[in-house]
């Protein structure tokens, strides 16, 4: 399909640029990251590790930039993202693999819920234009403007500490080991509810406003009037309008997802949730450059994959994109 092929090409270019940025940034910004790392952990580092770090950041090397670049690509293709100095020199890919499922599960589910809920509410608010529902908008505006992690603070203090409805952080109880048992799974779900709710609350605002604004335009279309004039049931009429109004939301998904993921990662930090967000803050405090770079790549790839899914959904929803020109 041409549309998908075009998008696929675009994502490929984006991925290549992301990988190239990952390579270039340490080499373009003045300063010696290896020295910074060594200054933090004197005496713990073997010469072999120093050499590996030198190669990774392009310090003390006689190889040309191009050779380094080619070498870098071969490493990335083989899944070798360097070693994480903050995690006892474990490979970055291993460190990330440990945290990735939590983030994918949490943010993935929360984003889908927020999109469905937000567009539904947005459609209804638009339909009931001028009613009391309009007073929802200032509240939504506030949630839209508040930093995700501030909402996380509030949710944590209110629902976990004051009311005691949810556990106050982490992904599972201490001493509860990962296993495919009901106790463990329910424990993980229990711990995911509050961070998930925070993300839904924070990101739904955008979908509500976006959907409402498009829906207001769609509602004036003739086919909506005709549907109503034919005497179709009201939910049916709303559905006809909403089906068309949702398209910009789906195509806007690509732009929004990066923001939602960023905000959600910061939310993880407040909840001490052991996902990529917590790794990010850990990498920052440890000056763990390789981990930062690895996280950038993984998060970018995840966002691109989410975009591709949204594109498939769009092609499925909008028959015009399926016409071969």
């Amino acid at each position: 399909m041409r549309v998908i092929a075009r998008r696929l090409f675009f994502y490929l270019v984006t991925a290549v640029i992301a990988i190239s940025l990952d390579f270039l940034i340490p080499r373009l910004i003045p300063g010696n990251p290896v020295e910074a790392i060594l200054a933090k952990m004197p005496g713990q580092v073997t010469p072999a590790v120093i050499h590996a770090l030198d190669v990774q950041f392009g310090v003390n090397t006689s190889a040309s930039l191009w050779t380094q670049y080619v070498h870098y690509w071969s490493n990335v293709v083989h899944g070798n993202l360097g070693v994480s100095v903050g995690n006892g020199f474990a490979p970055v890919s291993t460190v990330i693999r440990g945290a990735l499922p939590y983030t994918l599960g949490l943010i993935g589910v929360a984003t889908v819920i927020s999109f469905v809920l937000g567009t539904a509410i947005g459609a209804i608010v638009a339909w009931k234009r001028g009613s009391r529902l309009d007073s929802l908008l200032p509240v939504v505006t506030f949630f839209q403007a508040a930093p995700y992690f501030f909402l996380a603070f509030l949710a944590l203090a209110l629902f976990a500490i004051k009311l005691g409805w949810f556990p106050s952080g982490r992904a599972a109880q201490i001493g509860d080991f990962p296993a495919f048992t009901w106790t463990y799974i329910s424990d993980v779900l229990d711990h995911a509810v509050l961070p998930g709710l925070t993300i839904v609350l924070a990101s739904a605002a955008g979908w509500i406003v976006g959907m409402r604004n498009v829906m207001l335009t769609t509602m004036d279309e003739d086919y909506v009037l005709i549907a109503a004039a034919k005497g179709l049931a009201k939910p049916r009429v709303i559905w006809y309008a909403a089906r068309n109004a949702i398209l910009p939301s789906v195509s806007g998904f690509a732009l929004a997802i990066g923001f939602i993921v960023s905000g959600s990662l910061l939310t993880e930090i407040v909840f001490s949730y052991p996902g990529l967000g917590s790794l990010l803050v850990q990498a920052v405090s440890d000056d763990d450059y390789a981990l930062m770079q690895g996280l950038f790549l993984i998060i970018t790839f995840a966002v691109l994959a989410a975009n591709l899914i949204a594109d498939f959904v769009y092609v499925f929803l909008d028959p015009r994109t399926r016409q071969e020109a």
Binding site: F10, L216, D220
Partner: protein, 359 residues
Amino acid sequence: MAVGIGAEQVTGGQPAPGIAPPGTQRRRQRPLRLPRSPKIIAGLAILAFFALWSVVGPLVRPYSPDQVFANATSPLAPSGAHWLGTTQAQQDVFSQMLVGGGDMLLVSLIAGVIATALSVVIGVSAGYLGGLTDELLSMLANIFLVMPALPLLVILFGFLGKTGSNDLFLVGLIISVTGWGWGARVLRAQTLSLRNRDYVDSARIIGERRSRIIFAEILPNLTPIVASSFLFTVLYAVGTYTAMAFLGLVNPNWSWGGILYYAAGDNAAVSGYWWWYIPPGLAVALLGTALVLLNFGIDEFINPRLRAAGMARRSGAGRRDRNLRSQQFGLTPVIRTVSGTPLDSPPEPQGIATHGGLA
């Protein structure tokens, strides 16, 4: 989507009151008529409050923000001596709040100006020149839009180190690099629509220079969109700077995000130190709300449909005849049309516009 001011110029309709008669050297265009909207007024009022806050705050702060008081082992709740209590390190939260706004506002303004300039240059060139230039520039904008900004900024600031992040201009510049894509995209779409309008065609046929067409014919009609994308970049920069400070990436200097960084580090939420994390979070949220409100105001100006509801209600029609109105099945009650013409292009995907800043 010819907007207010432009439409008046083009259609040559009844000159609205307040417009100087033709013949004066430069027709005095009516200011955007924005201040009538309560959203705009509220937004501007909050913004003015924070601007005053960041100028006066450092002058009237009761203590130095890093002065250590008492030798208590946990943060003290608000009292007469410390209006917003103290932190874990026994520093005065209120003083930190007073000092913390300035840098953030400055960085956000710098980032907003640079990013808006970038997006105007790239968006308008792409839209007006078309062809391969358009393809490439659009792709560039889309790449910057799709790439998640947070981890990219983490690498940039990470390698730059804390000393580099003391330079407010540099911080603003880096934030703007990740924040211009949305504006460029919207401006390109609008330029594309404008360049085929009759009045632009006629200017071209008359033999106007390209620079004149762009600066005199097209740019003035992009004003509301430029304004809106400026506000969103500022909002984005506020969120991003707060997020960077919250991650401990930029030197906190007691910015509001920095206060939250220390509050999170000491588990303020779990321990119930509400006076420590609520003021900075609320301040950022309020500032953001002001920017979003201003933008809604501009949106309603561009697209009167979004506004009709509120007007109907204020004039009392909506309330009394709610039954009647719900029978209308969504037809826009045209209450008072402004000179804006109806939308002639489908609404742009909202993206950043609706999802606000990074945070």
